[in-house]
């Protein structure tokens, strides 16, 4: 069963980009409003605490490169890719700082603590804990699949892997969460 690509949204994004390239500054606001929250969600699940900063840098970089955006992937997928690269760059920069403690997978998995104050219900807390048990890659794939509704093809573009690998990561993540909640 093949999901229907969100073509209407993609067309709207392309229209907004063209308007902005033509000098319509209001189109920039529309683009940011359409995607900022999703980018913030994704960035926070990657364990990045400076979510606002990464989201802003993501859009600055995207808007600086719209001339070269070919629309082969959706704008949102492209933004996810940029955001992910920025997070990885920040991690590398942090690793190069001598006083900074190296970031381990276990520490990356605690990125969901940013949601602590928001998610209060016990049931949701259990789900959160289950998601925290995922490996960084599993959590990344699972977030894009369940949280953002991306296809395996889109996830593969963002994460830099194959559709098959993304599918395996998703099902492994789902199995891990089920085991944590129901066993």
């Amino acid at each position: 069963m093949v999901a229907q690509p969100d073509r209407a949204d993609d067309r709207d994004d392309r229209t907004l980009i063209e308007r902005w390239l033509g000098g319509d500054e209001r189109a920039a606001t529309a683009i940011v409003e359409r995607h900022a929250t999703a980018i913030a969600r994704f960035v926070s699940t990657l364990g990045e605490r400076e979510t606002d900063e990464v989201v802003q840098d993501t859009f600055v970089r995207a808007f600086s490169s719209f001339d070269s955006f070919r629309g082969e992937s959706s704008l949102r997928t492209w933004l996810f890719t940029i955001a992910r690269r920025l997070v990885l760059d920040r991690r590398r920069a942090q690793r190069r700082r001598p006083a900074t403690k190296p970031i381990e997978d276990v520490e990356l998995a605690s990125g969901f603590t940013a949601l602590d104050s928001i998610v209060a219900a016990e049931a949701e807390g259990q789900v959160r804990e289950a998601v925290e048990r995922l490996s960084p890659t599993q959590r990344e794939v699972f977030t894009l699949r369940v949280g953002e509704g991306l296809s395996y093809k889109e996830i593969a573009e963002v994460v830099g892997t194959t559709e098959g690998a993304a599918r395996v990561h998703y099902h492994n993540a789902l199995r891990t969460i089920k085991d944590a909640l129901y066993v």
Binding site: M1, G23, V60, S64, L115, E124, T143, K178
Partner: protein
């Protein structure tokens, strides 16, 4: 919690969650979920996870927009200024060519002398030519009717003079670059 064996339906659950299935596919999945406890539980789990992700703190879109590059300014400079610069260059080049064509060369090369009876003269581009009206024409001072009176040597001499002028157009005359016509009228 066990998994349903219908992998196609399970793969479609996240798509159903995000409304990415068409009406027929969505109905098919919902019909399966209604009679499959495993898939119903899995869909409920995915909905709980989705709610977790939805709880992300709001971002300051105004601050993001304020930090973006100004497209209008950048465009105005890159295209508008370049267009203006190109227009100025073209105008200057045209003025220089026109001035050169009108002033002519100081050494007397390519000097054409015409009389009121001289037929239209078309000057090839990039060839500075001075057009003078004199009482006593010299080289090319003749009318078309006089061509019939020229003998072979005179005709050859005239053609040689014309070739030296490089005045014979190879194509349609360029109306912007030094076309001189009807000077004798």
């Amino acid at each position: 919690m066990s998994d349903c064996s219908n992998i196609e339906i399970r793969e479609a659950l996240p798509e159903l969650l995000h409304g990415r299935l068409d009406a027929i596919q969505a109905a098919k999945v919902r019909e399966h979920v209604a009679r499959c406890a495993e898939c119903a539980a899995e869909l409920e789990l995915l909905e709980r996870v989705q709610r977790l992700y939805t709880a992300t703190p709001a971002v300051n879109t105004a601050a993001i927009v304020a930090a973006l590059p100004r497209q209008r300014t950048r465009r105005a400079f890159s295209l508008g200024m370049l267009r203006a610069a190109a227009a100025i260059v073209v105008l200057l080049a045209g003025a220089l060519v026109f001035r050169a064509a009108m002033s002519g060369s100081e050494n007397g090369n390519n000097q054409v002398v015409v009389t009121p009876d001289t037929p239209a003269v078309t000057v090839q581009r990039d060839t500075p030519v001075t057009v003078q009206r004199v009482a006593q024409p010299r080289v090319l001072a003749m009318s078309l009717s006089e061509l019939d009176d020229l003998d072979a040597d005179e005709m050859e001499s005239l053609l040689s003079a014309l070739l030296r002028l490089e005045a014979a157009p190879v194509a349609e005359p360029d109306t912007l670059m030094g076309s001189v016509s009807g000077v004798g009228t």
